[in-house]
Symmetry: C2
Subunit: 418 residues, 2 copies
């Protein structure tokens, strides 16, 4: 899935991840730690070579020993709590052949946290103050269990608490700076650019840029395709070459690039609208409120989003957006004319600068030979300028269809704002 | 995390999962296969004991041999495509010591799919028609790569394609029935009930039911907590005892149970409304269209959902829902009075049977001492009966807040429909 033209040379330290937790293996919880850690490590020029999930308990020792036999860096998540099945720190002590030493200052810190929350500390908490001999303690402002780093000649093991709200800040604020410092000589500068691309398939992107990037120099190109869109990632040791490749990508892909970095489409739209002091209104049929919901996921969207309609029924398109019954009768609800009328109606009623409308057939039923499931029309109306419409077929499972249609709708707003 | 009162005895076949894919280890894609498979296997009385992610390529052979040394069932996801890094079928052939045999009928099937989509098949597709000697082929109506089952005296390996849209139906329709048949003698009857509970914490649920279930007999109780809600799962070998425990749960938790089984809240609402031939309208402020979007995720929701408003601005609450400016001035946008007026306005304009309204402060900014971030008011208006309002504080990250508020709003509709 990653087309490595060039494998960046600094990827030579082997990293493995061990996720502990019976809940992962019972399917009660999705493992989001791997994603988070892998993306962060990638930015450091490190790759996760192997990941394993094991239940709480003795399997952790075995998994840790196994990983230590191969890897320079092993990251273990979970099992640092106070109960009997939380044995990650014992497992690390055993795997590294170290004693566990009681650190009274850790227990004092935990006691202070309990006291602030007006809770009574029980004696099980003492387990969290045990540290493998020679280990480094990572502060946990968001919970009681501290993180730990244990190392020997060959391997560094980083033990992190399981809850994402504790793991993520600890990783960013403690473990990552520690790693950067510890391996300063082994982590040469690495530069990365990500482009988010809509309306162009992975192979088309590849054809447009890959050979040309190859000609620039040692740059690794990665693709990540999702329904309807693709991320393109450049990575390499030379900032100048990455910059040149980025310029090439911009030239070749133009306004198909909706974001650089990790901004989402809705974040881009809200940012552009706020900067331009423009308001956006939505008139949704088949997306059913998803476009509005995505916009309002972004903090401060209330500055640029004031009115949205979900006119699911034909009648609603008339009563709420002022669409003419004759128009609806003549062209049907799923038509360019309806998308146009919805957008223009929403623009007028909301007194907005831009209004986007979506009408289509999400399925699984409701399609005809002439208007199949997946057919969708978009309309974009502007205070200044003509209303534009777009027809696409985004046939796919219902929720994927809705997502893809919402993405196109937001992209049309982005283009109208650019 | 699972409070095992009793570990069901039929969990004696060891299952391991191998997820292949460089994109998993680069953090580009979240592994949702483990969740899906583990939950499904749990219903069969099987637990995943270990899961490993390995990159595309030779690591698959080693991981497969390693898993085969321990497990009776090994499930491998991904790597069945046509390109050079898709080597799962080769890895299985090697690990089982089998030759790969060309199956022309598979290639004919793939050719037919290409032809239907008016695409030209290339010769790489031939790889997908190779089957380890003695292997069973699993049909893939949603893609080109067939699934495969290979077995020896000790281990059954089930190879599934990576895309979730291909894996899931293949698992449900092909692999699972095959497993049930193959291990009919080893999979004693197992009974499972899941209850989805809103408005009650995990520990409260536990206090209300756990000791009483223990008294009934050998039943394993599992909890899965998510923001604002919890799933309770009963599992055991005796149908009668599970039935008695389920009755107990229903008595103890009452209408806090919003679903039995794996139905989502929006599915429950759409099902109840369709059955009662009632229509539902939404008037959203802080949830920003999420309630409407969740309803319209459900097929056939157009039968019961016709009108939705996202009145994010105060003005929209007046112009679209007919709220009196004096009311808004007196009580503010985040108030029970506004929630009531929004719900009643939506009910009237949509001529609906039930309308739900949500207004609150999603944050991160906009809170005051009197009305802090997280404060949210709900209103439910009915064609017959009085409008009800509810005040909650759901302070959390913006998207979590929106989700929890949408869940409560849908639950209020569910209760109004019950």
């Amino acid at each position: 899935m990653t087309n490595g033209l060039f494998r960046v040379e600094c990827f030579y330290m082997r990293v493995e991840v061990i996720n502990t937790g019976t809940e992962l293996l019972l399917g009660q919880v999705t493992n989001t730690h791997l994603n988070f850690l892998a993306q962060s490590l990638f930015g450091l020029g490190l790759r996760v070579e192997r990941q394993v999930s094991v239940p709480d308990g003795v399997a952790i020792v075995e998994a840790l020993k196994d990983a230590m036999s191969r890897a320079e860096i092993v990251i273990v998540t979970g099992g640092l709590g106070p109960t009997s099945d939380d044995i990650t720190r014992d497992a690390a002590a055993e795997a590294f052949g170290r004693k566990l030493i009681f650190h009274p200052e850790i227990l004092d810190g935990i006691a202070a946290k309990f006291s602030r929350r007006k809770l009574v500390m029980n004696e099980l908490q003492r387990a969290q103050a045990m540290v493998p001999e020679g280990g480094t303690v990572l502060d946990n402002p968001n919970g009681t269990a501290p993180g730990l780093i244990v190392e020997n000649d060959k391997t560094v093991a980083i033990l992190l608490p399981g809850p994402p709200g504790e793991l993520r800040p600890m990783w960013e604020n403690e473990a990552l700076p520690w790693l950067r410092k510890r391996f300063a000589d082994k982590l040469p500068p690495i530069h990365e650019r990500t482009f988010r691309i809509l309306g162009m398939g992975e192979t088309r992107v590849q054809i447009l840029v890959e050979e040309k990037i190859k000609a620039i120099g040692p740059i690794e190109v990665g693709y990540c395709a999702r329904p309807g869109e693709v991320d393109l990632r450049l990575i390499g040791p030379d900032e100048g070459l990455i910059g040149a490749a980025a310029d090439l990508v911009r030239t070749q892909l133009g306004d198909h690039i909706y974001a650089e970095g990790h901004e989402t489409m809705e974040q881009v739209v809200v940012r552009l609208a706020r900067a331009a002091r423009k308001t956006v209104a939505t008139a949704e049929s088949c997306t059913g409120g998803l476009v509005a919901s995505r916009i309002t996921n972004v903090p401060h969207s209330s500055e640029m989003f004031r009115y949205g309609w979900v006119t699911y029924a034909n009648e609603a398109k008339m009563t709420e957006l002022g669409m003419a019954p004759t128009l609806l009768e003549k062209h049907g609800a799923v038509s360019a004319e309806t998308a146009r009328a919805m957008a223009e109606g929403a623009l007028a009623r909301a007194d907005a600068d831009i209004a986007v409308a979506i009408t289509g057939i999400a399925g699984p039923t409701g399609g005809t030979v002439e208007k199949p499931v997946g057919l969708v029309y978009f309309g974009v109306a502007r205070r200044q300028g003509k209303t534009e419409t777009l027809e696409l077929n985004l046939a796919s499972a219902r929720e994927t269809f809705k997502y893809m249609a919402s993405q196109v709708a937001l992209d049309l707003v982005r283009r109208a704002l650019s």
